[in-house]
Symmetry: C2
Subunit: 226 residues, 2 copies
DNA sequence: ACCTGAACACCGTTCAAGT
DNA sequence: ACCTGAACACCGTTCAAGT
């Protein structure tokens, strides 16, 4: 009956690819990765599931378009930055933009990790590459440097999405890290000597700080032999 | 009828978690990520789909166990190495072990990217951390260094899996890169100046070499300020 | 204790039929 | 041209019933 009312209100505007993608993002944000269903989506759009196929070829394309829209939005928001920023700062800002987008929409972490370097990621790659070039990296090494940065960002994104999936149903992030750190501390002292030893760091670390520290390691390697 | 024969032959050994995981790996390798189905799996094991649930709690656990088995196998194969290797070499060997495992079984790339730092990855993390420590990294920075390496490895793994998915149905890897490079070269000259410029590197690069170059960038950053 | 396989509650996608 | 919604061919998972 709630859906009946919404149905009546909503149906002024016609269906469009844009409205479908928008509704898909809302669904993914509220109901998670498993919540995006052509049935749920069509109900929200007050239509039948088949109608969606007129504007979108299938679920894969829809997921890609949704991730694309979010990443594009996050880049135009953060990419500006101060004009006198160093290339390092510009790279950090770019990376944080993707990081924060994944933090706000965990499902794109999974999505980007399974997307080949196509549409949504290409803009990020381009942005990273320009700054790599601005760092004075020789031409032959630019592809490697930009790729390394992007791959690292994607790896963290996937991990973050996995962690969000792991703790969101159960409780807070702090509890989750507490539990994970306790599990690390209880590992076999011989077989997992190192992991046990850094369990406290797992518990106390700040995701953003840690992420940027990793970026800085790569930046350090890129600029090491100048 | 082929399945009838197999059914008759196979059914001497009883069902076990180990046999189920083994069959799941075989199915994933031959039929891809979409090929792992409880129905297909139960047919291969000459039983009903319900029987599998006696040994395994569900599909998620099965996928995790399959990835775990492959990674564990690949680590015991490659982790030995020469005893006098430098920490850098040991890290490269470890990283290449995971890389090659993903190359041989692309589905674990997707799987690992969505696994939080649990079972299969914990052994990799431990191995990386020990070598980080052997590099003389101060205690407070060890967690960051090992995490950065692992996240980079996972990012590349996810990308490789995505690429394998993208080109396997159509044709060879070379053709795929050729097409992708051509697409890059045809991008807008203003908006994608950098990406266009490195299109040739995309076409000619060697995945393993590029992967190791990224590892070396991070290693460079880790050891830069010693 | 372990296995069987029918049944349940879903999916993504297609397609004849409507406007 | 665009939408509708029933129907198809699947899924993962459960569970009464068997041995």
């Amino acid at each position: 009956m709630a859906s009946r009312t919404r149905r009546a209100e909503r149906r002024e505007e016609p269906l469009s690819r844009e409205r479908i993608v928008e509704a898909a993002i809302a669904l993914l944000d509220t109901a998670g990765e498993g919540g995006l269903t052509f049935r749920a989506l069509s109900e929200r759009l007050a239509t039948g599931p088949g109608a969606i196929y007129w504007h979108v070829t299938g679920k894969d394309e829809l997921l890609l378009a949704a991730a694309d829209a979010v990443v594009t939005g996050s880049m135009s928001a953060g990419a500006a930055g101060p004009a006198d920023a160093t290339p390092q700062d510009a790279i950090r800002a770019l990376a944080l933009g993707v990081f924060d987008a994944i933090d706000a929409h965990p499902w794109i972490g999974t999505q980007l990790a399974r997307t080949p370097a196509q549409s949504p990621l290409l803009r990020v790659f381009e942005g990273l590459g320009r700054q790599v070039r601005a760092l004075g990296v020789p031409h032959a090494a630019q592809f490697t440097a930009a790729s390394a940065l992007l791959n690292y960002i994607l790896g963290v994104g996937g991990q973050n999405a996995a962690n969000a999936r792991a703790h969101h149903p159960a409780g807070s992030r702090t509890e989750f890290l507490e539990t994970a750190a306790a599990a690390w501390a209880a590992l076999d002292p011989e077989e997992y000597a190192f992991t046990r030893d850094v369990a406290a760091q797992l518990r106390d670390h700040d995701d953003r700080v840690e992420f940027l520290a990793g970026i800085d390691l790569i930046l350090g390697g890129i600029t090491a032999d100048r």
